[in-house]
Symmetry: C2
Subunit: 341 residues, 2 copies
């Protein structure tokens, strides 16, 4: 192993000088700097992470807690991980992974063992039991998702209320007469996840504002049969015909089954009715047919979270007065939207 002492010896300077060359925390003469950098290059010196962390009280590591819990919707988790990792690297930090199923102890472990300088907590639930613990840690914590009580922690999330509103707004403005919201399956509803409530509220509000007919049906699960059942309920209740129907499907897993069920009934999305999904663009592009969607913007959300995080780490002031930052979803029209009339 090459140490900074080896570099110092080769460059003919002291070890501390090497350290100052690398950190830039003291001025160094151009000549010395050159010699040291040359020595670093020659020896291929890389500072020992443990020693650095021990001496500086900074691990240069970000803890990322991901939802691997069984049953959690893992669709679209990857873009978050990807973006967060890349943002971290841009700031010369590394990412250490923890899984949701470790619960609150996972958080204290990361923090108390000085494994990381900050924590990003993904997929935060309404009354997430980790929140009070997170609030008491010695490292800053950024939440992706908005709990009922953020306990002063910084939160970033998609603006689900706005997403719900945008979905119905779009349908209303393209002359649809009625909206059916194909809700989340019962088990998701039972978990009382925050963003579900927010989305539904936004959709309802918009429907009310536009004076447009609005019903909400909950499928038993996200299977093909679940979609069938929900559609049965939705369509028989109102009759299949008459007017322009808009279907809003906020659960990504339900989109493909729903589209398929519609086709089986001879109802072609984009010809006989509109379908708007809430899912990643990738999911929307690859569904058959490609579905008009509101993007979950995982990259934007992640980037915003990381910006806050590094501002906190660098003791810069965090500009927003608010503790909750919401990202605006993006609507992309694809093949499942009825043409304007």
């Amino acid at each position: 192993m090459v140490t900074s002492r080896d570099v110092a010896r080769l460059a003919g300077v002291s070890q501390s000088t090497v350290s100052y060359v690398m950190s830039g925390r003291r001025s160094i003469s151009p000549e010395t700097r050159r010699r040291v950098e040359e020595a670093i290059e020659t020896l291929g010196f890389q500072p020992n992470a443990g020693a650095r962390a021990l001496a500086s009280q900074r691990s240069q590591v970000i803890g990322l807690v991901v939802p691997f819990a069984p049953g959690a919707d893992m669709t679209g988790v990857l873009p978050f991980i990807e973006t967060i990792t890349k943002c971290a690297r841009e700031e010369d930090h590394n990412v250490i992974l923890a899984t949701e199923d470790e619960g609150a102890e996972g958080l204290t472990r990361l923090s108390d063992q000085s494994l990381c300088d900050a924590i990003v907590l993904m997929e935060v639930g309404s009354k997430d039991p980790r929140i009070p613990v997170a609030a008491g840690l010695s490292v800053p914590v950024i939440l992706i998702g908005v709990p009922d009580d953020p306990a002063g922690l910084y939160c970033v999330d998609l603006d689900y209320t706005l997403a719900g509103r945008m979905a119905v707004d779009e349908l209303a403005s393209s002359a649809h007469d009625r909206v059916v919201l194909l809700g989340y399956p019962r088990d998701v509803m039972a978990r009382d996840v925050n963003f579900v409530r927010r989305f539904l509220r936004g959709a309802e509000e918009s429907a009310a504002a536009h004076g447009i007919a609005y019903v909400e049906v909950s499928p038993p699960d996200t299977s093909r049969a679940g979609a069938e059942a929900a559609l049965d309920e939705a369509l028989t209740e109102q009759g299949p015909g008459g007017g322009r129907l808009g279907l809003v499907v906020p659960d990504p897993q339900l989109i493909q089954p729903t589209l398929q069920s519609l086709l089986d009934r001879g109802l072609v999305p984009g010809r006989d009715l509109s379908v708007i999904g809430l899912c990643t663009d990738r999911t929307a592009e690859t569904s058959t047919p490609p579905v008009t969607n509101l993007s979950l913007e995982p990259r934007d959300v992640s980037r915003r979270a990381m910006r806050i995080l590094f501002r906190l780490l660098n003791h810069e002031s965090v500009p927003t007065a608010s503790t909750v930052e919401l990202v605006t979803p993006r609507l992309t029209l694809r093949q499942t939207s009825l043409p304007a009339r």
Copy 2:
């Protein structure tokens, strides 16, 4: 911050005794052990990771290099990450993430900075430029995927050759007359990925062995249009009718488009022909209709890799003489298989 010295003071022992209680590397009297453990509990002591790493030359961290490169197939990466992380935690290790786009430097960084004790390298290509670098690192490296020259490194992967053989074996044994292999898109073929070649070879071999008609067509890309084009080529060439046709689709991204294209032509998978996909079970279950598939077994592959890894770290002998460990795929019949005749 609570240190082992604090624990020692409270327990009335020396710091080194605390360390020995925790590591179990020297015998400790029951009475002393009790007092120390009580003190640890009381203070909520967690050893400082950096200090521990510095002193013991062990970071208790596994480096995981994931394929986030643009264009890489990210489908199914998550189960690998999940399983690897969980295996690591079972052995009291953490996982640090690196992205493929850091290339070989990412590997030397992880190793030379002593950020981790071992590295898992995912999605290794045939002539992956990282292999020679990996072979020279001071930490063990486990590959997921098999390069042309493993350079003495341990590799774990699905047995793609067997998968190809199993696909055609299944079709042959269920009285199919001919097999069309809807290959990988041209850009994947161009990258000359190892597992693609292996799968195709297995399929060819089996077809030859069974004396069954076999053609292979390559779609331009994984879009719907790409699937259409490939199907056009495959079906016109042989005519749509006559005998029992089996379609093998090894690219997960191509499966849904292909199924859809078939349905559009009035060809119902499971009634008019058979379709076998190579994809995760999850993908197979959620396709419409659910496709008979050979599983990629990400959990098995990951677990095998981690077992080797920890054996290496614990200086246990690694049992296999061979450096390459292949996992047997699992065939699951679903709705796209023709009933036996």
